[in-house]
Symmetry: C2
Subunit: 128 residues, 2 copies
DNA sequence: GTCGAAGCTTGACGGTCATCGTACTTCCGG
DNA sequence: CCGGAAGTACGATGACCGTCAAGCTTCGAC
């Protein structure tokens, strides 16, 4: 009800974001090995602005998408904040590049060259 | 029995190595997400010469190690050749860097900064 | 030829994770 | 206040993958 709430004042409902420097490399790789999550990251990397959860092009249900966003947030890859009922997502590029130099660039670059096929109901597109 | 067999003539027993350019990014990430396999890669990156399979410092049984070497070979990350009964392993750095620029460097670099804890009988060191 | 060393193959097992549906919460517009 | 929209939380389920032991193959030494 405050007139103060534009885009930044409603952040209470979001669990705390980790310090990227404290995230283990293992967690980062586990986050990025999933094609759906990697698709989220590349869509963010290609965008110039934040993206709503619901505006991503994803082949999974809403609850599964929520799960993926959480993994990415906990891996320090994305930052989330509320705007109304919409959760906005940003890539934490600068911070991440400090902690893992070159990693995100190399991955997004590779994903652009070889777009990862993200089809639903398939956990291991390589083996399948 | 040929006198010709120094180190390169015995390569028959090794399945063919893939063309790195044809390896999907997904396969590369699935290979590198495992801490044991990442440990193999970093040990190779730190070495100046080839390493025998048995000379790696790995917390798993021989059969499991064989499995990991195969995954890495099929992901285009290592090259294997026989020398007697020993299988030698080399990092395919140059080829890999051409196909996935910056990826290997960023990963090895990150792994050096944050050495991955590879303990036996543990598939998900992050969650555990 | 025989033996040991090095490593592969196979089969089985157990844990982890991606997936979903359902129910719940929070916010905005009338 | 009420309804819809946007997401989350919670269980349940099924598949994949890392793990190992046992047995086999290949090579080198003697």
């Amino acid at each position: 009800m405050d007139p103060m709430r534009s885009t930044e004042a409603t952040a209470d409902r979001i669990p705390p974001h980790p310090d990227v420097a404290a995230v283990p490399l293992q967690a980062v790789l586990e986050a990025l090995v999933d094609p759906v999550r990697r698709s989220i990251v590349t869509q963010l990397a290609d965008a110039t602005t934040d993206i709503r959860c619901g505006d991503f092009d994803l082949p999974v249900s809403k609850s599964t998408a929520t799960h993926h966003f959480r993994i990415l947030r906990e891996a320090g890859l994305i930052r989330q904040h509320y705007a109304g009922t919409s959760r906005m997502n940003t890539l934490r590029r600068t911070e991440f590049d400090t902690a893992f130099p070159g990693l995100l660039t190399a991955l997004v670059d590779a994903d652009r060259t070889q777009p990862t096929p993200v089809s639903a109901h398939q956990e291991s597109p390589t083996a399948g």
